[in-house]
Amino acid sequence: MSVLTSLSEMMAQLLREDRRRVVLGEDARDGGMLGLSRTCIADGTLRERVIATPLSPTTAVAHAAGLARGGARPILVFASPLGLLEGLAGLREAARLGWRTGQSAAVPLLMVTPSGPGFGLGEEAAEAIEATLARVPGLRVLCAGQPAEAAAWLHAAAQLDDDDAVPTVLVLPRRVLLADTDEALPDLGRACTSAARIRDGQAATVFAWGETVQVALDAVAHAQIDAAVVDVGCLAPLDAATLVAEAKATGKIVIAHAGPAAGGLGAELAALFADQAILHLDAPITRVTGADAPLSAALEAQAVPTVARVAEAIAHVANY
């Protein structure tokens, strides 16, 4: 099964689970540019809860946030992270609406966006949208990593109950979207706001998220070093307690992520570890990231670190 299919089916399941849920997006009535509303459209009982939005991201975000305030559970699907950047003004307002009203106004709004390379687009595909989003106060930013968990991420991210109605962006890396999965897990098996160790190891710890999670797993196998891999998963707010505990466990840290190193979330993690795990650090905190430069379509793969580079970094810290 393709991950896109699993997501489309999960979207329909979400609408069936809760009648308050609605799906919004450009071309959503036609199944959406990613096809995420295709199953909903095919189901006559769900079709009326799929809403097409105009080509104005700020309007779309404002519309969805209004629906959320009005009692609905909107899921706004973007075709590209550029939509979130264009709609940043609306996004920022939606994110701080709860704070602005003294937390009395819950905003159970979920936004879903693809990110990173994979579609041969270049340009924005080399950026790391999550680093920009993570700096919006009040916003929760999640990022799906392993393909088998993609649908489970969507399900978990949509659980915006009244006591946890935080405006949320779920980032779906395009490489993850294009992957196939033998078994789409229905449930994440952990809180989506937690970081999780997905591979045990003693010699080093690799922190990754999104499409780089698989790169990290492959790199550990390639390096033949007993390194742990942690899927950071929730990028804002960071699960500092788990992350620091994992960093302390080996003291030899590699942070791998897509997009530029400069101003990236890898720097945020490194600062967190320097701050809260300093006495456990046993090697330089080493970041492996995408290129610090705009990339053409032909070079967009350079936005994600390679297995060889991550393996090199693992060996460097493990043998430091």
Binding site: G251, L279, H280, D282, A311, A315, H316, N319
Partner: protein, 427 residues
């Protein structure tokens, strides 16, 4: 793999001691950047890298003597640290096994100012378990937690405590109620400190080698004379102020240098060396006076070249400059070689007499002692206060017989007792 050989450092230099590596394996070094400190004779020189490279391996450890042209390090080809270079065919090695067999031998790497280079985790673990990081070897240029754990697993032998002396009981002799001897009680000051080990290398070894050669080769004898420098004290007292106006702190040493040079001119055999290989005595026609100087790193002998051509004040300036350079380890090789005669003076702690060891292959060395006020019988048999100073001259009897040696020192004495003669000689 490119080899880094000890380059020719200077004319006549055939070997040098590796004093300190400024780069460790894995470090990148750029062309003309200092990579190692090498000591020759008594000058320490920094050897630059001939090109951009990564230090792969250090072949000549610190403290070893390497010949010019000998490979002292290996350079890597790439800009990748070897330990972290993954090869797709052969994956990088697993972390070095923690084996107690790999007993730490090398000292912990430091930042050059004595602070051990250790990771925070290594520091925290060492602090928690009371381990001295300086005693932990870090063979990759740093101490990691694994190094501390390894050191912890290999306990260092604890010094056996000295047995506390127990008071000996009185012998059981019934008929002799002798009083029991008072037991000797040592105050309890804790366990005695362990012996300190100072590496015998670098300057210390070079000094030792030189002295050993001198003492075992030359046939030393020492001749001592008392010199009444009362007039010189007066002259110097007056000249001191005039010299100060020119920014020179005028000591007695420049006067002594001048007197020695004049005496050497009269007795040239003292300004000579024995060239045994060619069965000849070489009488030097330059008057290069070595000035033995105590430095933090040991005895150094900067050389006052052509002292006969320098004015008294310039001699003072040069002595000042050279001794400062020597103390700062900044003296060049030229400034530390080429002496033909040496003066050793300890100033205020100069004592009464000494047996100076020749600065081989020179045949004469003059020891200068403290000037002390002493009752002196003058020409009219009156007891007056004189300023007396002793001079000890050591000579190589193979070249300089007692008569010449004594005559030389009497000539020095003549100049120092009557500074007018110095004046007339045109200092």
């Amino acid at each position: 793999m490119p080899e880094f050989k000890l380059p020719a450092i200077g004319e006549g230099v055939v070997e040098g001691e590796i004093v300190r590596w400024l780069k460790q394996p894995g470090d990148a070094v750029s062309a003309n950047e200092a990579i190692v400190e090498v000591m020759t004779d008594k000058a320490t020189v920094e050897i630059p890298s001939p090109r951009d490279a990564i230090v792969q391996e250090i072949v000549a450890a610190e403290g070893t003597i390497a010949a010019v042209g000998e490979v002292i390090a290996l350079f890597g080809d790439s800009a990748v640290v070897p330990a972290s270079k993954p090869t797709p065919a052969a994956p990088p090695p697993a972390p070095a096994p923690i084996s107690p067999a790999a007993a730490p031998v090398a000292a912990a790497p430091t930042n050059g100012a004595g602070k051990v280079l250790a990771t925070p985790a290594a520091r925290a673990h060492a602090r928690e378990h009371g381990i001295d990081l300086a005693a932990v070897s870090g063979d990759r240029g740093r101490v990691t937690k694994a190094d501390v754990l390894r050191a912890q697993a290999t306990p260092t032998p604890t010094p056996t405590p000295t047995p506390t002396p127990t008071p000996t009981s009185a012998p059981a002799v019934a008929q002799a109620p002798a009083p029991a001897p008072t037991p000797v009680v040592r105050r309890d000051l804790g366990a005695p400190a362990a012996d300190e080990t100072i590496p015998f290398r670098g300057m210390r070894r070079i000094i030792a080698d030189g002295l050993k050669k001198s003492y075992s080769t030359a046939v030393h004898y020492t001749y001592v004379e008392q010199v009444d420098v009362s007039k010189l004290v007066e002259v110097r007292k007056q000249a001191k102020n005039a010299a100060a106006e020119q920014g020179v702190a005028l000591s007695y040493l420049p006067f002594i240098v001048k007197a020695v040079v004049l005496a050497l001119k009269r007795y040239p055999i003292v300004n000579a060396e024995l060239d045994e290989a060619n069965a000849q005595v070489i009488v030097r026609k330059r008057y290069n006076i070595g000035i033995a100087t105590a430095t933090d790193n040991g005895l150094m002998v900067p050389v006052l070249h052509d002292a006969d051509r320098l004015s008294l004040l310039d001699v003072a300036r040069e002595i000042d400059r050279l001794s400062n350079a020597a103390r700062a380890m900044k003296a060049s090789r030229d400034e530390l070689t080429g002496s033909t005669f040496t003066i050793t003076s300890l100033g205020a702690i100069g004592g009464v007499l000494a047996t100076p060891i020749l600065n081989y292959p020179e045949v004469g060395i003059l020891g200068v002692h403290a000037i002390r006020k002493t009752p002196v019988v003058d020409d009219n048999d009156n007891i007056v206060i004189g300023h007396l100073m002793n001079l000890s001259v050591s000579l190589d009897h193979r070249v300089v017989d007692g008569f010449e040696g004594a005559s030389f020192l009497q000539e020095v004495r003549r100049y120092l007792e009557d500074p007018t003669l110095l004046l007339l000689a045109g200092i």
